[in-house]
Amino acid sequence: MILIHCPYCGEREQSEFTNGGEAHVIRPKNPEALSDKEWGQYVFYRSNPKGIFHERWVHTHGCKKWFNAVRDTSTDTILKIYKLTDNRPEISEFKSPLKSPSGEPAVGSGNFAVKK
């Protein structure tokens, strides 16, 4: 269980929130001009990085407001919480603990098979 700092209510348990998937996905302005492949990319494809991830949350069992977060998916550390109206923080602002794309962080991973 992780704790999430709702920008409106303060720190609460993750189970009070619902995850809304990747943040900053923009619906194409001209769907009719897109090929099936391009439309499929918008509908079905979301980034799934190990490491820094921009995502949406909604405080379902609280204020019911949406907000964005930057979380490290390799450790579940929440690096930044920001409002929907704020600019997207650049990935370069954050330090990833991973040495390779599918590596394991020294701290925060439950993968004891490969944790060094």
Binding site: G40, Y45, T73, S74, P101, G110, N111, A113, V114
Partner: protein, 416 residues
């Protein structure tokens, strides 16, 4: 030489304190180049190597594994095997697998402990009943052995179940007698043993860092033991597949999430079938050691931490205690998480891609173990022939462009 296991070999080794068992497979240093590199040494990956060597005559193969064999989701699932999926494509794929499971111990001369004790899916409301009866009819048209049980029949099969006096009473169940469980390590070890005998190199503790491509053709993989050249690279890395695909510039429609399981202290046999319930999210079976094997749900957010949240376990345990009051005072021994790769339609991807020589077998989400032999078998065909087997032709990447999805959210046991 083929290592034979028999009652006699057990007896012989028992007299010498089990100190003279041979190593099951070699651990060589990687060669400079291979015909096929398989990324991921779980059941699906090792099985792919086995069928490539056995059915397609390709022997210059390496299986590269970041940790140890079968230490990923092969060793982290609840070992349930069934094929009662709704759509024709899935029924064919999963039943291909069940049929292979039925002869796998004999084929590999390695005990899979495959026990066809039946798998039961409980219905708790009107919608469940309609959905399950529809699925049973679809299954029977595909030649599967699924049948409908009413509450009385369920109580006869599982006397410890509190089917009537609970918030969501059990109104019936879909039952597949040919379903069951198997030993998770055995499938990885059996395939590793027999593929190694045919010359497959099994390389453990070696992480694939990225997939090298040139001009839309695969060149090899960069690993923690250096660059290894390959004509073909087959990625079977479950939760990490999309991360590796990204290094080759390929985007996959997958989301990785932790899925948890837990086992109790061992007790005498009390439940001799597998009982699953989507509606209240409780599924349980009893291992041969006597532990209750319980599958929890996925966490509601992407993560690679192989842990999972306690609220998810709480939800499952709550439902199990209500359904089986006699488990109320039992202690749980272990809990763990595995990272599953979930596809938008809850069906796998067994496909080539726009990079020549690069193949993916992924998207098994919360239910890949049951498919291990079948998936490996058709994936080996796909890699060897550079075109899909007719069983996995529908499980391609193009379905996310042309809309021919195979929606199995109803048949997937874990809601996601």
């Amino acid at each position: 030489m083929r290592k034979k296991y028999s009652f006699l070999s057990l007896l012989k080794n028992a007299f010498t304190n089990n100190e003279n068992w041979q190593k099951m497979w070699e651990s060589p240093e990687p060669k400079k180049a291979y015909d096929v590199i398989i990324v991921g040494g779980g059941g699906h990956g090792l099985g792919t190597a086995y069928y490539l060597a056995k059915e397609h005559g390709i022997k210059n193969i390496a299986v590269i594994e970041k940790g140890w064999l079968g230490g990923g989701n092969t060793g982290r699932n609840t070992t349930i095997i069934r094929s009662n999926y709704l759509w024709n494509e899935s029924a064919h794929l999963y039943d291909h697998s069940v049929k292979l499971w039925e002869n796998l111990s004999e084929e590999l001369n390695f005990n899979m402990m495959f026990s066809q004790r039946g798998v039961m899916n409980l219905a708790h409301n009107e919608h469940d009943i309609k959905e399950m009866k529809r699925r049973i009819s679809a299954n029977r048209l595909n030649g599967l052995d699924t049948e409908w049980l009413d509450t009385k029949q369920i109580e006869e099969l599982v006397p410890i179940m509190n089917a009537r006096n609970l918030r969501y009473p059990v109104l019936g169940a879909a039952f597949q007698p040919r379903g069951g469980t198997a030993r998770h390590d055995a499938v990885a070890w059996g395939y590793a043993l027999r593929s190694n005998e045919m010359g497959v190199d099994i390389i453990q503790n070696c992480e694939v860092k990225d997939i090298k491509t040139d001009n839309h053709k695969v060149e090899g993989v960069n690993t923690s033991k250096g660059f290894i050249k390959a004509n073909k690279v087959a990625v079977v890395a479950s939760g990490h597949t999309s991360v590796l695909a990204q290094t080759a510039g390929v985007k996959l429609p997958l989301q990785s999430r932790p899925l948890q399981a837990l086992v109790s202290e061992p007790i005498k046999p009390v439940i001799n079938t597998v009982v699953m319930s989507n509606a209240v999210h409780a599924y349980v079976s009893q291992s041969d050691k006597g532990e209750l094997v319980i599958g929890a749900g996925t966490d509601g957010y992407n993560s690679f931490t192989q842990r999972g949240g306690y609220d998810v376990i709480e939800e499952t345990v709550r439902a199990i205690v209500e359904l089986y009051p006699i488990f109320g005072k039992m202690k749980m021994l272990r809990q763990w998480g595995g990272i599953v790769d979930i596809c938008p339609d809850a069906s796998p991807i067994i496909s080539k891609c726009e990079v020549k020589g690069l193949y993916f077998n992924c998207g098994w989400g919360t239910g890949g173990f049951k498919a291990t032999p079948g998936s490996a078998n058709v994936f080996a065909h796909t890699v060897a022939k550079d075109e899909p087997h007719k069983i996995n032709a529908a499980f391609n990447l193009e379905r996310f462009s042309n809309g021919r999805l195979i929606d199995e959210h109803g048949a997937a046991a874990v809601a996601h």
